[in-house]
């Protein structure tokens, strides 16, 4: 199956509603379409439901109503291994295992392809090891491969988290508030590396951000969410050029 090229959106949400508590809606009637091969940034003030939206898109949360599909397949009907081959998810705090090395963390990206017995003994196939090394190399962190994650800096952890997701070989990567607590120069460097990796592997990125400068640099497509609803008309990079954009958010 070649998902790109035939016009099927990478991710589509149709009239999605979500609440953690009964009828206390965090997402209200959200519809959006993410084109394949493009990078989409979702912006919005904090507490507006960006994390929830990304978790619904990544099938970690099930919507109360509405449907989310990736390349035409309804995500909540996919079995976990199939889903992991389509969607990679990087949470806001990155979700790295602190006591394990950078390389071990990256190798976890291949768990969906490895049997339990081999995984128990940490016997990763040679080609997975090669791929993990390559992913660390691509994110510019290979020289810290044996360091435990708790000794890495914030920026280094971001690189490890992306490398893990790259090893998963997903078609789509969803990253929550990625690079948001890094200084601008460092964030920009990491995002450039991600764009390069995404082009090479043909991955569609969806990220939430709150800094307009980074969103403009990284996003081909910028969407805005406010009070759990999509901001209508806010669908293009060009809107960010106008000074009003910052007021909108």
């Amino acid at each position: 199956m070649t998902p790109t090229g035939d016009g099927t959106p990478a991710v589509q949400a149709d009239r999605v509603w979500f609440a953690y508590r009964n009828r206390d809606w965090v997402l209200r009637d959200v519809s959006l379409s993410v084109p394949a091969g493009k990078h989409t940034v979702i912006m919005g003030p904090s507490g507006t439901g960006k994390t929830t939206l990304l978790r619904v898109l990544g099938a970690i949360l099930k919507p109360a109503d509405g449907r989310v599909s990736v390349f035409g397949e309804t995500v909540h009907e996919l079995d976990p291994r199939r889903l992991s081959a389509l969607v990679g998810y990087v949470p806001q705090q990155l979700g790295l295992v602190r006591n394990l090395s950078a390389l071990d963390n990256v190798l976890m990206g291949s768990l969906g392809r490895i049997g339990d017995a081999k995984a128990m003994l940490a016997l990763f196939p040679r080609e997975e090891l090669g791929r993990a090394e390559a992913a660390l190399e691509m994110m510019g962190i290979a020289y810290k491969r044996s360091e435990p994650v708790f000794r890495l800096s914030g920026g280094e952890r971001q690189r490890v988290a992306i490398a893990r997701t790259l090893l998963q070989h997903p078609r789509i990567v969803i990253a929550d508030e990625f690079a948001s607590d890094l200084d601008l120069a460092l964030a920009s460097e990491i995002l450039t590396r991600i764009r390069r990796a995404a082009e090479k592997e043909n991955i569609t990125f969806i990220m939430s951000m709150h800094r307009i400068g980074l969103a403009r640099q990284f996003g081909d497509n910028v969407l805005a969410l406010k009070h759990g609803e999509m901001v209508p008309g806010f669908i293009g990079n060009e809107i960010l050029e106008t000074p009003r954009a910052e007021e909108t958010l």
């Binding site: 970690i60 990679g88 790295l96 006591n99 998963q168």
Partner: protein, 255 residues
């Protein structure tokens, strides 16, 4: 704030009431106790070290029992605590596993030793199994709570790579909890060394048998030697576990 005064006051009154009920304010009795303590102390001195070669074997048996029992109990507690983790298994499975652990924990270690003496006969095997059983009950509970505290974001992130439950245990739950898992085993080992020195009372091997004999024959100088020996072992164990902590616990202070 009212609460800050009310709580210590109530606790204090409660403690006084309970102590009175237990005869703590019977001054005549307390004075007699102090006199007896003096007599006991003088009868214990000096400790009779002549018995060291004789009790050496019993001492070694105690150490063996506590090491083997702790390790056995630790190994058995891992699967039980993983099954008790509600984040991995349905409330049905975790409920049953927790119930089993609670049941094992209800029985004190001395009673376990008696049960195993009945099952496998007199000797250190019964003691070892008794210690193992008690250890399972304790560690399974501690570990289950520990595993449930695993950062949910890490679980989600690794689960989204397509990892199975077993893989989550291997790569997320155990490494994240590694420090506390090791610390608790060491604590349990220290506890078991002390506990195993009395298991001989019920015929389950080790120093306890010798202690019982010297107690019954009022041979307090020899008893003192044994108590000192237990103290030495506990101190040595403290040293070993301090060393293990220093060299194997990761100093993960990062967020």
């Amino acid at each position: 704030m009212r609460l800050s005064l009310a709580l210590p006051l109530t606790t204090g009154l409660f403690l006084l009431a309970v102590l009175a009920h237990l005869g703590f304010f019977d001054l005549e009795r307390l004075a007699r106790g102090m006199r007896n303590l003096g007599i006991l102390g003088s009868e214990m001195l000096p400790p009779d070290v002549g018995i060291l070669p004789t009790v050496g074997a019993a001492l070694w048996e105690t150490v063996e029992m506590s090491f083997a029992g702790t390790l056995l109990g630790f190994l058995a507690s891992l699967p039980l605590s993983i099954l008790s983790t509600r984040r991995l298994f349905s409330s049905w499975i975790s409920g049953i596993a927790r119930f089993i652990a609670a049941g094992i924990r209800t029985i004190p270690v001395l009673l376990w030793a008696i049960i195993f003496v009945i099952l496998v006969g007199l000797g250190p095997l019964a003691g070892t199994l008794g210690i193992a059983a008690y250890t399972v009950g304790y560690l399974a509970k501690i570990y289950a709570d520990l595993f449930e505290g695993t950062d949910p974001e890490i679980m989600e992130a690794v689960r989204s790579t397509g990892a199975s439950k077993l893989q989550l245990v291997r790569f997320v739950i155990l490494p994240e909890a590694a420090n506390a898992v090791l610390a608790q085993v060491l604590f349990m080992l220290e506890y078991n060394i002390r506990a195993s020195s009395v298991l001989g009372f019920v015929g389950a091997g080790g120093l306890g048998f010798v202690i019982q004999i010297y107690l019954q024959s009022l041979d307090y100088q020899r008893l003192a030697t044994i108590l000192l020996l237990v103290l030495v072992i506990v101190l040595v164990m403290d040293g070993i576990s301090a060393w293990l902590r220093k060299h194997f616990l990761l100093s993960a202070q990062a967020s």
